[in-house]
């Protein structure tokens, strides 16, 4: 920090003005808390839904179906009318040694001290580089996030012939965006044996966009000088490689939470989700720091993120009322082919909220039988709806009462 910074004190600072952050702030204000501030780094609140034009937002939280932008606007209105102090163009760049937030905005460089902080910074798709896809580095390589902003916010036409990497919900949303941007998705590739979205999306994609779905296929090389010219696709079963002509590659899904501020705060990350490790009441390992929404794990839909923010707010209120920060905790770990579970730690059994767990796998797993154990002792055995990447299974939380608070880690595995 340089001199001249001003310090301000508030009750709760919510970092991130997307669905989770706005929902948390709304609930916090409705609980009668004094000063709740939402810090959004973009010029506009609302988060990722602003960039998605399809309907279906708001089903679980607002009990209606809205377009992404309408949904985002609705949450901004709710938070504003609840009395939250909504600040845009305000980026949290770090923490001081004493735990204050360092802010940059056009109004200046400043410090903000809060009794509690809710981290709601969301997640992003891993870009091409993070996936270490070899080849040249031409123009025309995007993530869904960048694609949606180009098409919906800047009216750009991103290309003509696209190859989409991934076959999750968001990948099908990319197909729609491509079509709105005047591009045709010639192929969608996934390393898994089938897509990971609902059948209706897949059927729609086939009929509407005539996109070829290539399963058990990896994109292994990008070719082109100034602009993408071709991609190399490799069949994972035969090892056979072939090339497809295209001028655009969209990397979808493969989520990574935007966890920088959690790491800078010294909060532990969960090895599976790569988001901050939390218990069922959204406590991170740093006292006073809560986390909610998609910063906790790969993307869930916006309404689920909002519900997470709302639930986290209840915990924040209890903490500000004097509930102690949980000290010792038992971690929950997944064994492969499971990918992650959230929440991923348990504090004193029976205390706090007992919310359901969400669980994802690294691949499409045939068996849906799971077992949960601690130090060789079975805590739960049962069946979940699905085990795959991109879509979560829900796991009931009743077994947490059986956890030995003094015992070792809890392990979740496919039976």
């Amino acid at each position: 920090m340089t001199g001249g910074s001003e310090s301000e004190r508030v009750d709760v600072a919510v970092i991130g003005g997307g669905p989770a952050g706005l929902a948390a702030a709304t609930s916090l204000c409705e609980s009668g808390l004094g000063k709740v501030v939402v810090l959004e780094r973009e010029p506009e609140l609302g988060g990722i839904p602003r960039h998605a034009r399809h309907q279906g937002f708001g089903l679980r939280d607002l009990h209606r179906s809205l377009s992404g932008p309408r949904y985002a606007t609705r949450w901004v209105e709710l938070a504003a009318s609840a009395g939250a102090d909504l600040r845009t163009e305000t980026q949290v760049t770090g923490w001081t040694d004493t735990g204050a937030l360092e802010l940059t905005s056009p109004r200046g460089r400043s410090l903000l001290e809060a009794h509690a902080v809710v981290l709601a910074t969301g997640c992003r798709e891993r870009p091409r580089a993070a996936r270490l896809v070899p080849g040249s580095r031409p123009d025309g390589v995007l993530t869904t996030g960048a694609l949606q902003q180009l098409v919906y916010r800047h009216g750009a036409s991103p290309g003509r012939r696209a190859v989409v990497v991934g076959a999750e919900h968001v990948s099908f949303s990319a197909l729609l965006t491509l079509s709105h941007g005047g591009a045709r998705a010639v192929a969608m590739v996934t390393e898994h044996p089938r897509h990971q979205t609902v059948a209706a999306f897949r059927a729609g994609a086939r009929l509407r966009f005539r996109t070829l779905l290539l399963t058990r296929t990896a994109l292994t090389r990008i070719l082109g000088r100034a602009r993408v010219e071709e991609v190399e696709l490799t069949d994972l079963d035969t090892g056979e490689a072939r090339r497809i002509t295209c001028d655009l590659v969209v990397f979808t899904a493969d989520w990574i939470p935007d966890h920088e501020l959690a790491v800078l705060a010294g909060a532990a990350l969960d090895p599976g989700t790569r988001g901050p490790a939390v218990d069922a009441a959204f406590h991170t390992t740093r006292p006073g720091l809560f986390a909610a929404g998609n910063v906790l794990h790969g993307a869930e839909t916006a309404d689920i993120a909002a519900l997470s923010g709302r639930a986290a707010a209840e915990s924040v209120v209890r903490f500000l009322d004097g509930d102690p920060w949980p000290g010792f905790r038992v971690s929950i770990e997944c064994e492969e082919p499971l990918h992650w579970i959230a929440p991923n730690s348990i504090v004193a059994p029976g205390s706090g909220v007992s919310s359901p767990f969400r669980l994802r796998a690294l691949e499409i797993v045939r068996s849906r039988e799971l077992e949960i154990s601690q130090d060789g002792r079975m805590l739960w055995h049962g069946r979940v709806k699905r085990l795959m990447p991109g879509r979560s299974a829900r796991l009931p939380g009743g077994w947490t009462a059986l956890v030995d608070a003094g015992g070792g880690r809890v392990v979740v595995r496919v039976a």
């Binding site: 163009e89 798709e125 870009p127 091409r128 993070a130 025309g140 993530t143 902003q149 591009a183």
Partner: protein
């Protein structure tokens, strides 16, 4: 005679070497052009280097390279302070991983001494792990090279070129030299944009320096591009490493290093593979796998971090083991070709050398009374006070408080400033090298569209082209 000649000196190539020469010649009453085939300065072999300020500890003794790297080191270190080039004085540790390598360290120290560098120091294994606690297991000792530092790979060439342009040098981007013909008193160059006459030609064409050499009627060397792949890791890995971690060089290769970058990342690389084509900047499955394997041994915890970028540089290697500095006074031609990865460090010394060669050959060097214009480059180094963190700066202009690239914390004010600078960016890559925008972990997921729109708006550039739209 000079009436028909537009320029006294035409420099072919605006990489580190060409730009440094242009800056050096800008001190004198000369009409100088720099002709660059690419869209930007420093956009060829210069842009992808390991960003190390070399002491010349490992250069081949007695070579021109050894001498110019040593001289260039002190010139560039001083210049970095003067104009604000990001430079962090980290020092290096050359780590031995087995007894055979340990036995070679004295020879490395001896060679450094022959190159005039006497500050190397043996480091025992305990001290090594105390200095670098995250180093992989199995190291047996090291040699400290306390003056081997990290430097910004992009700012030096921009600083040289900016200063040259402000001093009146004519920077001609997007212009390729296709033919060179001797005429009475100098040369006529046919370019992709027309015809230029200059008394002297300086060849600083990097990867293409052999081709320009041939256009000038010479044939002393051939450039074989040597591919170097590098992986850049997320900033959150920066606390893992304090020094440049070097391997013990062998006869055939300098090996793979791990180093912090001035942007706060950690870089792993490079590979070294000769390739056929001078534009083959493709990364490979094998290269990336090899780097990961090396990284796993050198700094295992690094491999758990996210990769921010993977890129490829091509070094202008030749069949000769030294820089190709040639002067043909009669034909008014100077060649500064075959400059390899050390060229970032040596560029200012090469410029001095070329200046002296030109002077000795009869070019009148009359110093301008004004000297070179003062320049101050943007603070893009992690160790510098960056605009987003500068209260006074934001107070004087709120645009420095408007962050547009969130991962790298680049502000709208900085994009505006670079758009109005003497050598504005013409594309997103140019913007990246000048400001760090889009260089971070999200690679544009959050901000690509708005960064491009800001650049288009501020720089008066074609928005569709910048947005990466299909033409």
């Amino acid at each position: 005679m000079s009436g028909v000649f537009g320029y006294d000196v035409a420099i072919v190539g605006a990489g580190n070497v060409g730009a440094a020469i242009a800056r050096e010649l800008a001190r004198f009453e000369l009409r100088v052009a720099v002709i660059e085939a690419g869209r930007d300065v420093g956009a060829g072999t210069s842009k992808a280097n390991t960003a190390i300020l070399h002491t010349a500890y490992d250069a081949k003794p007695g070579t021109i390279e050894a001498r110019l790297v040593a001289r260039g080191y002190s010139l560039l270190a001083g210049y970095a302070d003067e104009v604000g080039i990001p430079l962090e004085r980290t020092g290096a540790l050359l780590v031995a991983w087995d007894d055979g390598q340990l036995a070679r360290l004295p020879a490395v120290a001896q060679r450094a001494g022959q190159n005039g560098y006497g500050r190397t120091r043996p480091v025992g294994v305990d001290e090594l792990y105390a200095k670098e606690p995250h180093l992989g297991p199995g190291a047996v000792g090291a040699l400290e090279i306390p003056d081997e530092h990290i430097v910004c790979p992009f700012t030096p060439v921009l600083a040289f070129a900016t200063q040259a342009v402000l001093a009146g040098v004519d920077l001609r981007r997007n212009e390729r030299v296709v033919e060179m013909e001797r005429v009475d008193g100098g040369w006529r160059l046919e370019t992709s944009r027309g015809s230029i006459k200059a008394h002297w030609i300086v060849n600083a064409a990097g990867l293409h320096s052999d081709e320009v050499n041939q256009l000038a009627g010479h044939d002393e060397f051939t450039v074989t591009p040597r591919r170097g792949e590098l992986i850049v890791f997320d900033k959150l890995s920066r606390p893992l490493v304090r020094h440049v971690i070097l391997p013990v060089p062998t006869e055939t290769t300098k090996g793979v290093l791990v180093a912090p970058t001035v942007f706060g990342n950690v870089v792993l690389g490079p590979t070294a593979v000769d390739v056929e084509h001078k534009d083959d900047t493709s990364s490979t499955t094998e290269g990336l796998a090899y780097l990961q394997e090396q990284g796993q041994r050198i700094l295992p915890e690094l491999m758990a971090h996210e990769v921010t970028a993977a890129y490829v540089g091509l070094r202008a290697a030749t069949e000769n083991s030294d820089y190709q500095l040639l002067t043909d006074a009669e034909r008014q031609y100077v060649c500064a070709g075959g400059i390899r990865s050390t060229g970032l460090t040596s560029s200012m010394a090469i410029a001095e050398h070329v200046r002296d060669e030109l002077g000795d050959a009869g070019l009148a060097l009359r110093e301008k009374p004004t000297g070179l214009p003062v320049v101050r480059m943007p603070s893009i180094g992690e160790a510098q006070l960056r605009p987003f963190a500068d209260s006074a700066r934001i107070a004087s202009d709120p645009e420095y408080g408007r962050v547009v690239c969130f991962c790298e914390r680049v502000t709208r004010g900085e994009i505006r400033d670079t758009s109005r600078s003497p050598i504005p960016p013409t594309d997103l890559d140019g913007l990246r090298r000048r400001t760090r925008a889009l260089m971070g972990r999200c690679q544009g997921f959050f901000c690509r569209a708005s960064v491009a729109a800001t650049l288009a708006d501020q720089g008066g550039l074609d928005s569709a082209g910048l947005q990466g739209q299909a033409s």
